[in-house]
């Protein structure tokens, strides 16, 4: 009985052990899932240490991480919290755990050995508490700096990947800096905790040529690696866009870069192939993210990147080249079956593969009468080839109906393209070959539209060039003379009219003038002068001069001095408005003429001509005087 009781007790104990074993094991597992790490056990005053709490749970996500006490240190930043999840499958059983990693940055302020923590976090209402850590703080300069040549990362623990580089938060303390990639380095303001930078592999391309765009995020390694928010992608309206990475949502860690004096962690946010669709200076816009930093978000943007886009050369451009077909393409085709009945169909699989801007809309088909290509089915595989070239394999599946009997040559599909690497045009070609079509009844498909809109039949084409167009015909209205001629007709009539009237007026005036006393006087005066000049003998000349002077007196003073004595002549002239000097001259000249005319001797011609000269001079003087008098009178009036 005792033995039986002992056996029962033993079984019960075994059951208890078996029942509690996993629970205890689970408890142990829980205890291991809260862990605290510190990146340095000994620091100088002013140095920064990083305390990391990792808490994992199978149920809810741990939250509210707390550092606990931290004498001798001040909190410089944190906690920076990132989340993680792991799935384990052991013996067919799946277990999932979720956790957080919280990091605090502390600055040592006092010499001594201090206990930090214990840090803790909550899983629901349960508080998970980790172990406290101890850190020794010595005075400035007491620690010998140097890195282990065999361990460039400073020997990070599996638990704490940041251990080696958390010691350089401001970028000036590089004692544990990770190796940096010079290719990622750039000149940028290093006072910011994070920034974005974008690059393109080429800035001058032709339409359809690939521009590889990479957006990078530079983050201070002190900051926890957290998910960021993609505020907006780079705007590129004039480009076709194809991603070059399989999973665009996850950014890729590229390494570390030195930016001026500070080290940044670099992540590739995007790697994209852009294909320009038009010419000109096009722009790839800014890409913006928001990165969590404590309780706030910090925004970071890439630069705007201009791309100069030209056309491929026109020289050597093949027929049928479509602008934008740029890259390197290959075509192959498979036709099955090769023997069909008239009106039946055959299948053509065309594979277009290549790199670059592989056209996926439609292929230039060798259309001909009685051969109808139905709408193709398209399947495509996209990805990236060597050197980040975008690659695609497109398969077009055509169903082709042939309504003509005999050997029908389907021709070839040709796709001209421009290869920017070789800077030349090429043509991808796939020969479709001949299909043997047996004569038979053409099965007319039932029209889907009972009343189709039929396109008109065209007439036969013109087989000679028209050539009737003059490239730049000269028109009448373009010639200046046309407008002159147009206006000339009425103008010339008006001119004719005006000039006729003017001519008539002049004629009438002349006629009128010819009949006036003044004109008669003038004529007589001129006759007398002419006679005086033309006379051959001295006496005749003197007599003519006398008549000439008398006519001058009539013409200029309107007085007739013929037959008057010398005194009478002078007084008559004075009455006629002639000045006394000229009146005396006139009187003297007339008297001299009378004396010589009645002298018994002949008068020498020289003397007679001297009298004529005196008469002419007198006339000029009288004319001048009469004009002066006339002018003075007009002025007075």
């Amino acid at each position: 009985m005792t033995k039986l009781r002992s056996l029962l007790l033993g079984l019960v104990a075994l059951c208890i052990v078996l029942a509690h074993g996993p629970a205890r094991a689970q408890l142990h597992f829980h205890m291991k899932d809260v862990e605290t790490q510190v990146d340095q056990g000994e620091v100088e005053v002013g140095d920064t240490v990083h305390v990391t709490l990792r808490a994992m749970s199978e149920s809810t996500l741990p939250e509210r991480p707390d550092l606990g006490q931290h004498p001798g240190f001040t909190v410089r930043g944190g906690p920076s919290v990132s989340q993680s999840q792991s799935v384990q499958i052991i013996n067919g059983r799946t277990s999932s755990r979720r956790g957080i990693t919280a990091t605090w940055s502390l600055t040592a302020t006092t010499v001594g050995t201090f206990t930090i923590g214990p840090p803790s976090a909550f899983v629901g209402a349960t508080k998970l508490t980790s172990d406290a850590v101890r850190v020794r703080v010595v005075k400035k300069g007491a620690i010998q700096r140097g890195s282990d040549p065999l361990d460039p990362f400073g020997g990070p623990s599996t638990m704490d990947p940041w251990k080696s580089f958390f010691g350089a938060p401001d970028g000036r303390d590089t004692r544990a800096a990770p190796p940096t990639d010079p290719a990622l380095g750039l000149d940028h303001d290093d006072s910011v905790p994070l920034f974005m930078h974008a690059t393109i592999d080429r800035s001058s391309v032709v339409v359809g040529e690939q521009v590889t765009y990479t957006a990078l995020l530079y983050v201070d390694p002190d900051l926890a690696d957290q998910d960021f928010i993609m505020e907006h992608e780079a705007a590129a309206a004039s480009f076709l866009k194809q991603t070059l990475v399989a999973d665009d949502a996850n950014s890729k860690q590229l390494g570390y870069a030195k930016v001026r004096s500070r080290v940044y962690r670099v992540k590739q946010v995007r790697k994209v192939a852009f294909f320009p669709v038009s010419t000109g200076t096009l722009e790839i816009g800014e890409q913006e993210i928001r990165y969590p930093l404590g309780n706030r978000y910090v925004s970071a943007k890439t630069e705007k990147l201009p791309v100069k886009v030209g056309e491929p050369p026109t020289k050597g451009r093949p027929l049928g080249y479509s602008l934008g077909d740029t890259g390197h393409f290959e075509l192959s085709a498979d036709v099955k079956p090769r023997e069909i009945d008239q009106g039946d169909v055959t299948a053509i699989n065309v594979t277009l593969s290549g790199t670059g801007n592989v056209p996926r809309a439609a292929l230039p088909l060798p259309l001909q009468k009685d051969v109808a290509f139905l709408q193709p089915e398209l399947s495509e595989k996209l990805g990236s080839a060597d050197k980040d070239r975008f690659a695609a394999v497109d398969t077009f599946r055509y169903v082709v109906r042939i309504d003509r009997a005999g050997d029908v040559d389907l021709g070839a599909i040709e796709l001209p393209f421009f290869d920017p690497d070789r800077k030349a045009y090429f043509t991808a070609r796939a020969v479709l070959g001949v299909v043997h079509v047996k004569k038979g009844d053409v099965k007319q498909a039932a029209p889907s539209d009972p009343n189709p809109v039929v396109l008109p039949e065209g007439p036969p084409p013109f087989d000679t060039l028209d050539g009737t167009r003059a490239a730049s015909a000269r028109h009448l209205a373009d010639a200046g003379w046309f407008w002159y001629a147009l206006l000339g007709s009425p103008l010339s009539y008006v001119l004719l009219k005006v000039s006729g009237a003017a001519a008539r007026r002049v004629t009438a005036r002349r006629r009128e003038r010819a009949q006036s006393p003044d004109a008669e006087l003038g004529r007589r005066h001129a006759d007398a002068k002419a006679k005086a000049k033309a006379s051959q003998s001295g006496k005749d000349t003197v007599a003519a001069v006398k008549r000439y002077v008398e006519e001058i007196a009539v013409a200029r003073a309107s007085v007739n001095v013929k037959g008057e004595a010398a005194e009478g002549i002078a007084s008559l002239l004075l009455e006629g408005g002639v000045s006394s000097a000229l009146a005396k001259d006139t009187s003297a000249l007339l008297t001299a003429c009378a004396d010589l005319a009645f002298s018994p001797d002949d008068v020498p011609m020289k003397e007679a001509h001297a009298l004529l000269a005196r008469a002419e001079k007198l006339e000029r003087a009288l004319t001048l005087e009469s004009r002066t008098v006339e002018a003075n009178r007009e002025e007075t009036e």
Binding site: S278, L319, G320, A362, P364, L365, P366, L367, Q368, K369, D370, V371, A372, F373, G411, V453, V454, L455, P456, G458, P459, P460, P461, F462, D463, T464, L465, D466, G467, T468, R469, A470, A471, S472, A473, H475, L476, A477, D478, F482, A485, L486, G488, S489, P490, S492, Y493, L496, K497
Partner: protein, 274 residues
């Protein structure tokens, strides 16, 4: 002798300029044209389209090339219609119409362009869409197209001469002849105004009017900021529009009293009247 030299020099220069301005097809281009015609006759419109488009790209402005290109697009559309085939067919026929001086070809182009437009209109009517594709020109332009520009100009000059004769006779004669001369002068004066305005209209159209044909199957008109005009009907392929401005890949067009912006690639400009 000097006068002869003075006359010969400008005439020679004018002849040279005229020869240089006229684009003549080379024997190779004529050979390519014949090849394109052969392809079209053999029922291979795709090849014909490529060859004829290449000739046009070479600067060959010839009515036969444009006409055959219209036929090639039409033929291609009959076998397997690609987007824009009918619009390009209409454009090619309209272009041939503008280029040719042959009445026969002109009439044939008018007929074919009208038939293709009719097909487009029927398709659109079935979908309940507007079918207007050609806008009646304003009366002044319609009247001026009765005669070619040079005929109007010649008529204007003749009327000017008659006006002069009528006015002169009116002044120098009397009785019935004077009355007849007065009527002649008045009539000529009126005709000068009409023919002169028509000449001016034709000249202005030749120098500044740019017409285009919509070649895309359907174009949504937008405003200046390229925002689609919600109330404006879409422009169908084959629609004739007047281009009044071009900016950054867009063209300002007017048709049926509507002013809108459309992408430049959706229209093709017709050659200006010569």
């Amino acid at each position: 002798m000097k006068i002869q030299k003075l006359l010969v020099a400008p005439l020679t220069l004018a002849a040279l300029i005229s020869l240089a301005a006229t684009a003549h097809a080379t024997p190779q281009q004529e050979e390519r044209f014949k090849g394109a015609v052969a392809s079209l006759t053999a029922g291979k419109p795709e090849e014909a389209v490529l060859a004829l488009e290449a000739l046009r790209d070479d600067g060959i402005d010839d009515a036969s090339v444009s006409f055959d290109l219209g036929l090639a697009y039409l033929s291609r559309a009959r076998i397997a219609e690609s987007p824009g085939d009918l619009g390009r067919a209409v454009f090619s026929f309209e272009e041939a119409k503008s280029l040719t001086h042959s009445d026969v070809l002109h009439a044939e182009c008018t007929r074919l362009a009208g038939e293709v437009r009719s097909v487009i209109a029927k398709r659109r009517a079935r979908l309940g869409q507007p079918t207007d594709m050609e806008e009646a020109p304003p009366p002044s332009r319609a009247f001026s197209t009765i005669l070619p520009e040079d005929n109007w100009a010649e008529a204007t000059l003749a009327c000017a001469a008659l006006l002069f004769i009528g006015l002169v006779l009116r002044d120098r004669t009397s009785g019935r002849v004077k009355v007849a001369s007065s009527i002649l002068a008045a009539g000529s004066g009126l005709l000068i105004v009409i023919a002169g305005l028509a000449t001016s209209q034709r000249r202005s159209d030749r120098l500044s009017l740019e017409e285009a044909i919509v070649v895309a199957d359907e174009v949504r008109p937008t405003d200046e900021k390229h925002i689609v005009l919600a109330d404006a009907p879409a422009l169908a392929a084959g629609t004739r529009v007047r281009v009044t401005d071009r900016r950054a890949g867009y063209a300002e067009v007017r048709t049926h009293g509507q002013i809108a912006w459309v992408p430049e690639r959706t229209i093709l400009s017709l050659p200006r009247a010569n």
